[in-house]
Amino acid sequence: MRKINVAISSLTHAHVRKYYQTLHDNAKLSWVAVSCEDEDIASHFKTLGFDVPVYASTEQMLTEHPEIEGVVVASENNRHLQDMELCCQYKKNMLSMKIPSFDLEEYDRMIRMVKDADVICQVELEMHYNPAARRVMDLVREGAVGDVISFNATNITLSPVWAFPWQGKPEVSYGKKVPLREGDPRFRGGALSDHPHIFDMLRWITGSDFDYVFADVADNLRDIPEEDILYVTGRMKNGCKFLLDPSWSRHEEHLTRPGVGWEVFPKRMEVNYSIVGTEGVIQADCFGPNVYFNGGPNNRYTVQYTYFDEWIGMMDEFYDCIVEHKQPKINLEWHRKTIEAMVRCYDSIASGQPVWIK
C-alpha cells in the first residue's frame, strides 16, 4: 500500500484538533509536519505527544519537506487564499476548511489556481462521512417519504469565539467587515459563517440548487460583534422548501481551550434533519443518541458524544483522490453554490427581503 505524506498548515482552525488523531492513526498517511505562527498554540501542540515537527511558517515547512503531498489548510478564513497560493506554488494537494472564502471573486481565483497547478483541492464538509446523514440520503433516494416537500435542518452549536478568537473577528471570519444591515452595529462572520453543512446537504438531498433565500437575524445572546441567532428559509429550483437554523444558540463557558465543562446547555452541537415528504416525515439526529454524565468543573448534566468518525472517511477520500489524481466529490467548484447561497443569506438580512439566486 502506498503511503502519502501529509502536513497541516496552521493550527488555528476549530476543526484542526479533529485531524490530529486521524492523521496519526491512518496507516495510509504519514504525518510529516505542521506549521503554526502562533507560539502559544504551537507550544500546546507540542504537549500533545505527536512526534511531528512544528515550523513557524507554511513556506518554511514546504521548503524543508519537499516530500509533502497533501496539506490540510487549517488556517483562519481570511488566510486561506494566501495558504492556497503557497500550496499551488509548491504543487501540493489541499484539503481546504469548510469556508474557502466568502469573497466570490477570490473564490473564483482559487478555482483557477487549483486548475492551473493541477492539484487536488477537497473541501472539508465532513457531514458526508456521517453514517446517519448517509442513511438519510439513501432513504430519501429510495423514496421512503415520497417526494420531498421540505428539508429542514439545524446546525446549532455553542459559540467557538472564546476558544477560537478569530471567529469573533468579522474581518478574519468573513474576510472583511461588512455590516449586517443599516443601523445594526454587528457585522457578517458569525454563526452563519460557521455552518455551511446544512446548506450543502440541502443541495445533495434535493438534487437541486437554491432558487431564493430569506434570512432574518435575532438580537444576540452574546456580546460579540457578529450574528449568533438566525433563521433561513427559502426554496430550491425544483420547488422543495427549506428552513435552516445555523445558529450559535447553545450557551457555553468562555473556555480558551475546548474541554470538559465547555457546555452550559447539555448538548453543545446538533445537526438534526426534519424531512417532510408526500408520504411521511424523516426525523434524524446525526449526532445522537449519546451517553450522559454529570460532573466536570461545573457538575452539569452533559452529553458525551459517542460517534465523531467523519474525519476518518474524509481523509480516506483525500488519500484516494491524491493517489488516483482525481477531484473529490466536494470540490471547490461544487461548493461555490453553497458559499454563494450563504452570502445571499447575508444579503437578505441586509435587505429584509428574499434574495433570488440565478
Binding site: T233, K241, F242, L243, V281, Q283, Y292, Q353
Partner: protein, 259 residues
Amino acid sequence: MDKKTFVSSLEELSKKYSVVNEMYVSFRPGRIVIRCGKGRFAFVYDFAADGPEPDAEFVPMLHWRNKRKYTELKSILDAKIIEDPRGMRIHHIVPRDEFAASLKNLIIYETDLAEFLTGQSVRHIFADFTGDVYTNCIASTSGNIKISMELGFSPAGSEPVLLHEVIARTGIASDLAVDTQMVQYPIYVINGERVTHYNEIDNELYGLDNTQAECIRYILDVLRDTGSVAGLQAQYRHLNAVYAAAQRTKDALKYEEVV
C-alpha cells in the same frame, strides 16, 4: 370526539369548581356551543370555519393555553428563570384531526402560543406554503424575537413531531428532552413489534384525550371570567391578521407586516 364523556366531564368539573350551575352543551362542526346562566358562547376550534354563531358570543378555542407543558414553559419565562428571549423554534407536524384540520389552525395555534409564552406580539411574517399541507415561516415580534415555524401535516396515524424551544440570552427552555427528537410519553406498552403509548397527565380528567381535556379547562376558565371574552376576540382578530399576512407573503414572497 367522545361527546358523552366530554359533556359529563365538563359538567362535573364545572360543578366541582362552582363555575356555573347548569349548562347545555351542543356540538356543531368545528365548535362547541354552551348555554348557561352567564350567556351563550360558541367555542370555535376550526378556524377555517369561523363564521358567527347566532345569538352566541364567539370565543376562539385557544385550548393550548391550558396545556400543562406550555403553562410550565410560560412560568419559566414569567419567573425570569431564563431572561431576554431572542429566538424560538417551533415544529408542529401532525396528522390531520378535528382540532388540526388546516394550516390556518396550525398557524393560529403556534402564533398564539408563541405570543402567550413570550408576552410579545407578532409584527412581521414570511411564509412559503406547499398547498394546505405544509409551510415554513419566520416571524418577528414586537420585541424583535425571531420565531421559526415548521408547520404541516403527516399521513394519518403518524407520530406527532412537536417542538417548542425558547432561546433566551441567559438560557434555553424546551418541551423536548435534550438529545431526543420525538415527543416522549409517560407510559409505553411493548408487545413484540407493537409499541403502544399512553399519555395520562390529567387525573381529574383521567382517560380523556388530552386536547379535549385542555378544551374543558379552557371553557371553564372563560366561563369563570366571561370578562375575558372581549380580549380573546381581539386576540383572534390579530391572529387572523397574522394568517392574512402569511397568505400575502405566499403570493408576494416578502416580509409582510401584520396589519
